[in-house]
């Protein structure tokens, strides 16, 4: 226990980082989910196709594989791209000016931080799940209400912000809540791509103190705390929104 106390501060920093990654990913996921749902419900075949591929592919592959693919593979892709762009630009300049010397127009090596990659990947993954949630929620808004809004002379934008969106959110809330709980637990994976979150810190601490059980159990309790607070808040929010409908 004394060991746990000496790591308390750094573990709490890690917990805060985990929460940050989870919350920022959620924001990205909700944004991508809304875009995905609107694309799926649009009349454009191209948009529909892109959104369907996005949600299908993402939901078919484990989060860990996607994370490794985006973090390691994406890093290589970005660097290859920036290198070939540099090469192309330099060759172009050499044809016009034979004395042109090699110059890196784009940085030769771009380092993607695990913090950024983690948020991007988790947001991107859960955007697909959110898209399905939002699609269902949009479809359960009564058509008559939208027609009534149109009959009142509201513009398309106003119909969306005043009638469609608030009602859709009410239907989407339970789904968003479930996705958030899964997302929160997925955040533990960012330690694998090297982010100093609480899982990684617990791993380092158990290595040096020889007390892996104590540290991983402490991390489990922090996650349990996060999920418990989330479910309590979600229950409260759902109750509040269902009262309003009556």
């Amino acid at each position: 226990m004394a060991e746990l106390q000496s790591y308390q501060g750094i573990l709490l920093d890690g917990a805060w980082l985990t929460l940050q990654v989870a919350l920022l990913s959620l924001v990205l996921a909700v944004f991508l989910g809304l875009l995905g749902a609107l694309a799926k419900l649009s009349h454009s075949t191209v948009l529909k196709g892109i959104a369907t591929i996005y949600t299908t592919v993402i939901r078919g592959i484990p989060d860990l594989i996607l994370m490794l693919l985006i973090f390691f593979g994406g890093q290589m892709l970005v660097n290859d791209l920036s290198y070939s762009l540099n090469e192309w630009l330099n060759e172009l300049f050499t044809t016009y000016n034979p004395e042109h010397e090699w110059y890196s127009f784009l940085p030769d090596y771009i380092d993607i931080s695990p913090y950024f990659a983690g948020i991007m990947t988790i947001g991107f993954i859960f955007g697909a799940y959110m898209a399905e949630t939002f699609r269902g929620a949009f479809m359960s808004v009564e058509k008559g209400q939208l027609e009534a809004a149109a009959a009142y002379g509201m513009s398309k934008f106003k119909i969306f912000t005043r009638v469609m969106f608030p009602q859709m959110m009410r239907h989407a809330l339970p789904g968003i809540g479930n996705n958030w709980l899964v997302l929160l637990k997925t955040t533990a994976l960012v330690s694998i791509i090297g982010l100093q979150d609480m899982v990684k810190i617990a791993g380092d601490a158990s290595g040096s103190t020889q007390q892996p059980f104590t540290f991983y159990f402490a991390v489990a309790l922090v996650f349990l705390f996060f999920t418990t607070v989330s479910t309590t808040l979600l229950k409260w929010a759902e109750q509040k929104y269902t009262i309003k409908t009556r």
């Binding site: 592919v57 939901r59 078919g60 592959i61 484990p62 989060d63 860990l64 594989i65 996607l66 490794l68 693919l69 390691f72 593979g73 890093q75 290589m76 892709l77 637990k185 997925t186 955040t187 533990a188 994976l189 330690s191 694998i192 899982v199 791993g203 158990s206 020889q210 007390q211 892996p212 059980f213 104590t214 991983y216 159990f217 991390v219 489990a220 996650f223 349990l224 999920t227 418990t228």
Partner: protein
């Protein structure tokens, strides 16, 4: 993209695929043995029965699978009593720890499905069965089980897919499942994109096969 890497290493990937399949299938099967009694007893009136089951489900559904695996795989080494007992032979094996963690995890999630299905069972149907003079066993076999199975199937197919995806973390604790194979290939060739892309494809095939199978199963159940 250099696809020859994947083609050269196909046997490694196939072995990984096989490891993923048996690990997940066995966990799901063993998980059912926990889930069915736990799901039924969860609604018991006795606190000494209900309490531990509530805690088990609360803990395993509220924490990440990765942490559960780490607690079992790394954490077990902290207890000298365990290290000196015969159990240590199993606990030092990564596959055993992964199997244990996955089983306990899916057991908790499936217990929640069982609880939900039982809680929403139509009382009228049971009363009707009784009125027809069916025995308790006949009622279970003819009414309760087919009815509950049909209603549990969609949620359970989701759980299977979650388990297939969740099992990817086995590759982190030295097991050569699909993810493990991809890690080995990446270490050999330093080709992360190709290595993980192939793994993603395999998982996708696995996921969609399961979805297809369950669609067929659901359709045949609904016909009855």
């Amino acid at each position: 993209m250099d696809l020859s890497i994947i083609v050269n290493q196909y046997s490694l990937y196939l072995n990984g695929l096989w490891t993923t399949i048996w690990l997940v299938a066995l966990s799901l099967l063993l998980g059912l043995f926990i889930a069915v009694p736990a799901g039924i007893l969860r609604s018991s009136n006795n606190w000494f029965v209900k309490g531990p089951i509530w805690f088990y489900m609360y803990f395993f559904r509220g924490t990440p699978l990765l942490i559960q695996l780490f607690i079992i795989y790394y954490g077990s080494a902290q207890f000298d009593a365990l290290r000196e007992s015969w159990l240590w032979e199993y606990f030092q094996e990564a596959w055993f720890c992964a199997l244990l963690a996955f089983t306990l995890n899916t057991g908790a999630y499936t217990a929640e499905i069982v609880r939900g299905v039982i809680g929403t069972m139509d009382k009228g149907e049971l009363e009707a069965a009784k009125a027809y003079g069916m025995s308790a066993w006949q009622t279970l076999r003819r009414i309760t089980l087919p009815n509950s199975l049909r209603r549990a199937l969609p949620a359970y197919s989701n759980e299977i897919i979650f388990m297939i995806h969740g099992s990817a973390i086995a590759g982190v604790v030295t097991i050569v499942d699909i993810t493990g194979a991809a890690r080995v290939v990446n270490a050999r060739y330093y080709a992360p994109f190709e290595a993980y892309f192939a793994a993603g494809l395999l998982y996708m095939c696995l996921t969609f096969s399961v979805i297809y199978l369950f669609k067929k199963l659901e359709a045949s159940y609904l016909q009855q």
